[in-house]
Symmetry: C2
Subunit: 216 residues, 2 copies
DNA sequence: TAAAAAACAGGTATTTTTATCTGGTTTTTA
DNA sequence: TAAAAACCAGATAAAAATACCTGTTTTTTA
């Protein structure tokens, strides 16, 4: 019997996965949580041995990356399977680098989820073609300048980026932050370099992808 | 017995929901599809009476809104339940206006999905507090300038907008569309006016909100 | 089917953004 | 706790985006 924990904030998706997993005779979902912090707390209180954890990236309170880093330290025997909508290579790279045992896109089919669970329990890791490819690109030095961006973006840069997303010009931003327009343009430029994009459009896309700016 | 169809492109989410629905004794998922076009085709070939359809908004080929409009004409007896990640009022408004019988966010819990299915079958409609609120705002004239925007944007403008989101400059866009840079700038300007935003950041946000550009 | 409206194509001038710089300050880390 | 790295602030020139125009062609609609 394989015991599974799942951290995923979308209730319906979570319940659906649990239903599918519990329908398999030797799989059992022992723990379910809304976010990473919840997972860590529940694990401390859990008497059962957990073999694998399905972890979402976008979660409130404690996100997937941070959660997994702590998991590696506090629960090194639990295999971490990332289950996310993000298919960009930089996510795969960041997660694998941080110690993920498997990386699955949410649009994978269930048989792959099952396969990944069995694989990580038996052989520690499960990497599909997409993941292997991302790792190759990473190793061949084709990695993005900023792996999981927001971590490497300074507070000031983040403030500027937020205001850019709110359609402010550099002058307006400088007035709101009480700095000169040139400085704002300096931050803008650093953002472009760090994120590795070409212009404002790229900055906005990055901000949305990384929840620096939330779209309504 | 209530027969249900489901159109949802995320396989895992779809399979999960189906597993949950089929676990309820008097609910049965008869039809599952990847997109709207698939749904319409399968409905034509389906000998069973479908009582309700769960429809996602973001789907390839034929999206939720277009799908539902056709459903209203060709299958007026089937109740359409929108099941989406979008919680913005303009989506609710657009969908209800187009004839949705219920609107649910994907982070609803399963009991609400079940409740909504029973409600639309018994009483045609199911609207929760959030939906009612959006409809009130709509009726009180607080609706956004562009309800589901893309309708008012020409094909050419949409092409330009897509390329803007892909971080192309006006010159690059002009080369890709075989028109002059000035023309591209003209389209850009019209987009700014129609959408009512200030700059590229606003254009990108609009494109994402209205699924003209899909973020990964 | 004419008239009207909308879409498409383009030009010019101004403003904003982007590419490269310099140097001081704060934070890491060896 | 020095040295190194990263952050913050800024300037200037070049490139790109935006504001404001004029026409032509295609679609609507009265």
């Amino acid at each position: 019997m394989i015991n599974i924990a799942i951290a995923e904030d979308q209730v319906l998706f979570r319940k659906g996965i649990i239903s599918l997993l519990n329908a398999v005779t030797d799989l059992r979902v022992v723990l379910e949580c809304n976010n990473g912090e919840d997972l860590l707390q529940q694990l401390d209180a859990c008497p059962e041995t957990i073999h694998a954890a399905l972890i979402d990236i976008n979660m409130p309170v404690l996100n997937g990356l941070e959660t997994m880093k702590i998991m590696r330290e506090k629960h090194p025997d639990i295999r971490n399977i990332i289950l996310t909508i993000h298919e960009e290579e930089r996510y795969i790279q960041a997660m694998v680098e941080a110690g993920a045992n498997a990386y699955l896109a949410k649009n994978a089919d269930f048989s792959e989820v099952e396969k990944a669970i069995r694989a990580v329990v038996a052989n520690d890791y499960y990497f599909n073609e997409q993941t292997i490819k991302a790792m190759h690109h990473f190793m061949h030095g084709k990695k993005q300048k900023v792996v999981l961006g927001e971590m490497d973006i300074t507070r000031r840069e983040r403030e500027v980026l937020e205001l850019i997303c709110q359609e402010n010009t550099s002058l307006e931003i400088s007035q709101k932050l009480f700095i000169s327009e040139s400085t704002v343009n300096g931050h803008r430029n650093n953002l472009l370099l760090k994120i590795g994009c070409k212009n404002t459009a790229g900055l906005v896309l990055f901000a949305i992808r990384h929840n620096i700016y939330r779209i309504h």
